[in-house]
Every structure is written in structure tokens, then in C-alpha cells.
């Protein structure tokens, strides 16, 4: 329950930042916040209190955490980092052309 609450708060905060903020860099932060909320929730949800790693699985009967969500999250973090870098690169490029990173000023120029 607590996990879900934190997830919803963080996700909505990210979505709010993405929709309401005018600064493009803040929008990138909002998008990353959404992703981070999802990853945090995945890790928290898959935590069953175990601690042993998977390669001992064959010989023991101990409680272990499912490694697949962790692997998925790790991949997701890598994708998130690369897309954040790409977004920031594009924002820098755009700033060279327009001299601003305000969403309203940039979107209203010529449509």
C-alpha cells in the first residue's frame, strides 16, 4: 500500500512537471521523475525480503528476490539515461537557434 502511494505521488509529480512547467529542462526532469517512480515501484514490489542471488538457487531453498524485475529496471535505467542525454542535447541545439528554452516561446514561433 505504502509502495503504491509513493509510486502514485512521484508519478503524478512527474506528470505535473511535464505538463505544467514551461522550462524544457524542467520537463526533462519531470519525464525522468516519472521513469524513476516506475523503477522504484518495480523494485519495491518485487522485494520479497530475500537476499540470496540466483546462482545459488539450485542448491538452496532460501527465499530469494526475483532477479528479472531488477534486470528489467537496470535496462530501463540505461535507456532513461541515454534518452535524457539525447533530450538535453536537442534542447542545447534549440537554445543555439532560438536563444530560449521556454516552451511557449518556442512552440508558438511558426506552425
Amino acid at each position: 500500500m505504502f509502495n503504491n502511494l509513493i509510486f502514485i505521488i512521484l508519478f503524478m509529480l512527474g506528470l505535473y512537471t511535464l505538463i505544467m512547467k514551461k522550462n524544457l529542462i524542467k520537463m526533462v526532469i519531470g519525464l525522468n521523475l516519472m521513469e524513476a517512480a516506475v523503477f522504484l515501484w518495480v523494485i519495491a514490489f518485487s522485494d520479497t525480503g530475500g537476499r540470496i542471488s540466483i546462482h545459488k538457487l539450485a542448491e538452496t531453498n532460501f527465499n530469494f528476490n526475483d532477479p528479472v524485475p531488477q534486470a528489467l529496471t537496470l535496462t530501463g535505467i540505461v535507456i532513461g539515461a541515454s534518452t535524457a542525454a539525447l533530450l538535453l542535447t536537442l534542447i542545447i541545439e534549440l537554445n543555439k537557434f532560438t536563444g530560449t528554452i521556454d516552451r511557449d516561446q518556442i512552440e508558438g514561433l511558426n506552425d
Binding site: 519525464l31 516519472m34 530501463g76 535507456i79 539525447l86 541545439e93 534549440l94 537557434f97
Partner: protein
């Protein structure tokens, strides 16, 4: 169990990646070597997929074709799995063929930074092949994200303000779609403990209805954003009109069809259509797609930019295809898949010929077209033929596919759908004629070439002939040819429909093999 023959599946993805790496490290100055690598690689890719079709032709014909390749030990539950059945073979084939022609066009079209262009292009091709071949939801997510990431620099390839803004917007919406996709596959994993499509398909019925609805809604959100359906469509025309002509053809002609394939794969194979219709969601999506189709055509009417108009018209066609797919009858699938091929050919041809005709002008405004019809007569005639096909003029391919879509709507007694098909064609007639008439306006000082010099004299014809023109003529020829002999596609489409209607075959073969 492991068959060396099946390694072609993984080669289809690895070949473009290797080419991209080679082009990345090669210098821009050895242009000839770069072009040779590019052409060899794309020909090999086409050869592989054609060889797969030819060598398994008997199996394809009686709809029992199936190949899979597994990375990792087959008995372990977590493996990377690639599978090819009739539906994915069909899509892989048409996509590779279209990309082959687009690459030949862009060899001549792209002159500066060609190695960067083709490196990114091949990465997109690898991601497209991967997302068609994969039999695993997480790999599908990775390939979809890869498509988004690698197309972004291509949209901003001509560095200026408009392209950068379009690329930024495209990336933002693509990533939001990606987050929704990730949420829904992680929910599936927590419910079922597996991400292989076949296992998910077999066990999806056992999930409780509330969770099923959540998963379906997140999938729908992700895919509707990617397809550019009405409320979230505004990124699409900007992105599809900002990039160089071959990339417009790739995005609008090829990539949207790949997302349609993913839509079919998820909502007919993984999550069966009965579950979607149990929540009455398919009615809602159908009406939304039809409305989106109408909105796309209306926006195309008011657009003064040729490429933007073509992109809005893509929204119209994609909405129509999605709507007819959701009717879930045999006739509907036939019309939808036929129109997918037709739209792939027509939209690629339109974007490529636009790129060729307006090579020298900087913008694609309607006023730039003035006099183009007199300067490049033969290419412009090809452009007009393709325009007429897109509108739905009788002997051409566009008419045949629209006719089957119309028949499917009438058969299901969905008259609003039939109205949208007709109204869309009528609106399309108006906006295409606007541009065509503009192109035949003459203005003072324009030097016109007589038709004798341009075409009827063989010497002139061959001296002005190049790869770009050849590709445009080939596309036009195919559109005319398939208009008469569309029965050519009835066997592959029928087997693809068999695959859509019998997901159990896919499940049995993946889990059994």
C-alpha cells in the same frame, strides 16, 4: 532442436547493426566505400528475407510456416526468443522491400554526412526488424525504444530550428509512450511471471478483470501515442515533415505500419480480441480512429505545406486502417492488410517524389511548387498518378484497397465507417488537386522543357536518368501493376489472417518447439 537454418533470423537484426558500426567508424571522405557497404548490406538483407520465403514456400502456402531462434538455453525460463510466423514474415518482407528502395533513393539524395545518415538508418532498420521478429515483450519494448531513439537524430538531420523542435517533441511523446508500455509489461510480469508472448497469451485469461483492464489501457495509451491517433496526433505532422525526404518516407510509409503490426500482435495474439471486446473498448477505439481519420483529412485540407499535408493524410489513412482492423472480421483484415501495402507504396512514393521535385527549394510551401510541373514533367506525372491512387482512382492500387475497406465496413453494417472512407477520399481529391494545379501555373522567366526534349527523345531520357527517378518510376509502376493484379497478395494475406484468427497455433509452436 537448434537449427543452423534459423540463424538467418538473428542475422536479419545483426547485419544492419554491423553495417551501422562499420559506417560509424568509416570516414566521411571515402564516399564510394560507404555507398558500397550500404548497398551490399541492404541487398543481403533483402536476399535473406526472400530466401526465407522461397525456401519455405510450401509451408507458407498452407499457413504452417514457423521458425524460431532462441538465445540462451532453451530449458531456462528466461531466454531471448525470436520467432517468425506468416504474419511477421509478411510484414518483414514488405518492410525490407520498401526500405531497400528508399535506401537506393537516398544513396543519390543524401550527399553530405552520408555515413552518419546511413549508420542511423541501418540502426532504425535493425530495430524495426527486431520489433517484428521478437517473441518476447521486454525485447519488444527495447526495440520500440530503439526505434524512437534512433529516428530522433534523423529527424533533426538538417540542423535548423524547425527540425530540432520537431525532433524534441517527437522524442518527448515517444518516451511517454515508452513509459506506459513499460508499466504494462511490468504489470504482466508481476501477474504471470513470464514475458514470453506465447506464455502470456496462454495465461492472460487467468488474470482478474480489473488488472486486465489496466494492462490493456496502458498498452492502448502507448500504441495510440505511437500511431498518432487523434487527441495526441500533433507531434506526427511536425516530425514527419521536418526530416529529409527518405526519412519522411521511412517514418510515414514504413514505421507506422510496424506500429500497426505491433498493435495486431498484441491485441490479437498476446491479448486475445475477446478480452478487448469484453470491456467494450473496441467500439470506443474504433470510433476514435474513425474520428481521427476525419480530423487528419480536414487538417490536410488547411495545410499550406506539402509535406505537412502528406503527413496529415497519413493520419487519415492510419485511422482508417486501425478502425477497419477493429471490426474483427475476415473481410476487414483483408481490406486492412491490403490497404497497409497500398499505403506503404503510395506514401513512400509521394514523399520520395516530393523530395526529388523540391530538391532545390528550401521549404515545401505550396508557392514553391509553382512551375514544377513544367520543369520535371515525367516525375511530376508519376507524382500525379500516385496522388490519384491515394485518392482512390479506379484502376490503381489505392482504389482496390479502399474498395475492400469499404466492403468490410458495409458488411459489418458500420455506416459511419463507410461514410468516413468516402468523405476522406473526397477531401483528399480537393487537397491534392490544389497542389497539382499549383504546379502547372507558369510564371514569367521560367524555362520550360518541351515534352519532346524531356521524354520522347531517348538520348535525353537516358542522360537525365538516375537512381532517384528509377525508384520513383518503380513505385509508380508497382502501384499501377498491383491495381490490376492485387490477387497476387491474396495468398500471403490469407495466411496472415489465419495467423491473426488462430493465436493458438503460435502459442503451441513457440511453447512446443
Amino acid at each position: 532442436m537448434m537449427n543452423w537454418m534459423n540463424i538467418e533470423l538473428i542475422l536479419l537484426i545483426l547485419m544492419p547493426i554491423l553495417t551501422a558500426v562499420m559506417l560509424c567508424f568509416s570516414s566521411e571522405s571515402n564516399h564510394k566505400i560507404n555507398i558500397t557497404i550500404t548497398l551490399t548490406s541492404i541487398s543481403l538483407e533483402l536476399y535473406f528475407i526472400t530466401a526465407l520465403l522461397v525456401s519455405n514456400f510450401a509451408a507458407v502456402k498452407n499457413a504452417s510456416f514457423f521458425l524460431q531462434y532462441t538465445i540462451g538455453r532453451a530449458e531456462s525460463p528466461f531466454v531471448i526468443n525470436f520467432a517468425l510466423d506468416n504474419l511477421s514474415l509478411f510484414f518483414s518482407l514488405i518492410v525490407t522491400a520498401a526500405v531497400f528502395l528508399i535506401v537506393i533513393f537516398s544513396v543519390k539524395y543524401v550527399e553530405d554526412r552520408a555515413n552518419q545518415f546511413f549508420a542511423l538508418f541501418f540502426l532504425v532498420l535493425a530495430a524495426i526488424q527486431g520489433s517484428i521478429l521478437t517473441a518476447d515483450l521486454f525485447t519488444l519494448y527495447l526495440f520500440i525504444e530503439a526505434i524512437t531513439i534512433f529516428t530522433t537524430p534523423l529527424i533533426a538531420f538538417k540542423k535548423n530550428e524547425t527540425t530540432t523542435r520537431a525532433a524534441l517533441q517527437y522524442l518527448f511523446y515517444g518516451l511517454i509512450g515508452g513509459v506506459f508500455f513499460f508499466i504494462s509489461i511490468i504489470l504482466i510480469y508481476f501477474e504471470l511471471g513470464t514475458l514470453r508472448m506465447a506464455e502470456v497469451a496462454a495465461a492472460f485469461v487467468n488474470i482478474e478483470p480489473g488488472m486486465q483492464l489496466t494492462i490493456i489501457i496502458f498498452f492502448l495509451l502507448a500504441l495510440l501515442i505511437k500511431l498518432g491517433i487523434f487527441p495526441i496526433h500533433f507531434w506526427l505532422p511536425r516530425a514527419h515533415s521536418a526530416c529529409p525526404a527518405p526519412i519522411s518516407a521511412l517514418l510515414s510509409g514504413v514505421l507506422l505500419k510496424v506500429y500497426l503490426y505491433i498493435f495486431m500482435r498484441i491485441f490479437w495474439t498476446v491479448i486475445s480480441f475477446t478480452i478487448l471486446s469484453r470491456f467494450q473498448l473496441h467500439h470506443f477505439i474504433l470510433e476514435l480512429a474513425l474520428f481521427s481519420s476525419l480530423v487528419g483529412h480536414l487538417f490536410a485540407l488547411q495545410s499550406d505545406n506539402l509535406k505537412k499535408m502528406l503527413a496529415y493524410s497519413s493520419i487519415g489513412h492510419i485511422g482508417m486502417i486501425l478502425a477497419v482492423l477493429l471490426l474483427n472480421t475476415k473481410a476487414a483484415f483483408y481490406g486492412a492488410i491490403l490497404h497497409i501495402i497500398a499505403h506503404l507504396l503510395m506514401k513512400s512514393a509521394l514523399f520520395l517524389s516530393t523530395g526529388y521535385l523540391l530538391q532545390t527549394t528550401l521549404s515545401y510551401q505550396i508557392s514553391d511548387l509553382k512551375g514544377v510541373g513544367h520543369k520535371n514533367r515525367s516525375v511530376f506525372v508519376a507524382f500525379i498518378i500516385v496522388c490519384l491512387a491515394t485518392i482512390g482512382m479506379p484502376p490503381l492500387f489505392g482504389f482496390v484497397s479502399k474498395w475492400y475497406v469499404l466492403l468490410a465496413f458495409l458488411e459489418s453494417q458500420h455506416y459511419f465507417g463507410a461514410f468516413v472512407v468516402g468523405a476522406g477520399s473526397l477531401i483528399a481529391l480537393i487537397y491534392y488537386l490544389r497542389y497539382i494545379s499549383q504546379a502547372y501555373l507558369t510564371f514569367k522567366g521560367s524555362e520550360t522543357v518541351s515534352i519532346w526534349q524531356e521524354n520522347l527523345s531517348f538520348k535525353e531520357f537516358f542522360s537525365s536518368f538516375n537512381a532517384m527517378k528509377a525508384v520513383i518510376y518503380l513505385f509508380t509502376f508497382l502501384i499501377i501493376f498491383f491495381g490490376f493484379s492485387f490477387k497476387f497478395f491474396s495468398m500471403p494475406i490469407d495466411t496472415a489472417i489465419f495467423e491473426l484468427l488462430n493465436p493458438q497455433k503460435y502459442i503451441d509452436l513457440v511453447l512446443g518447439g
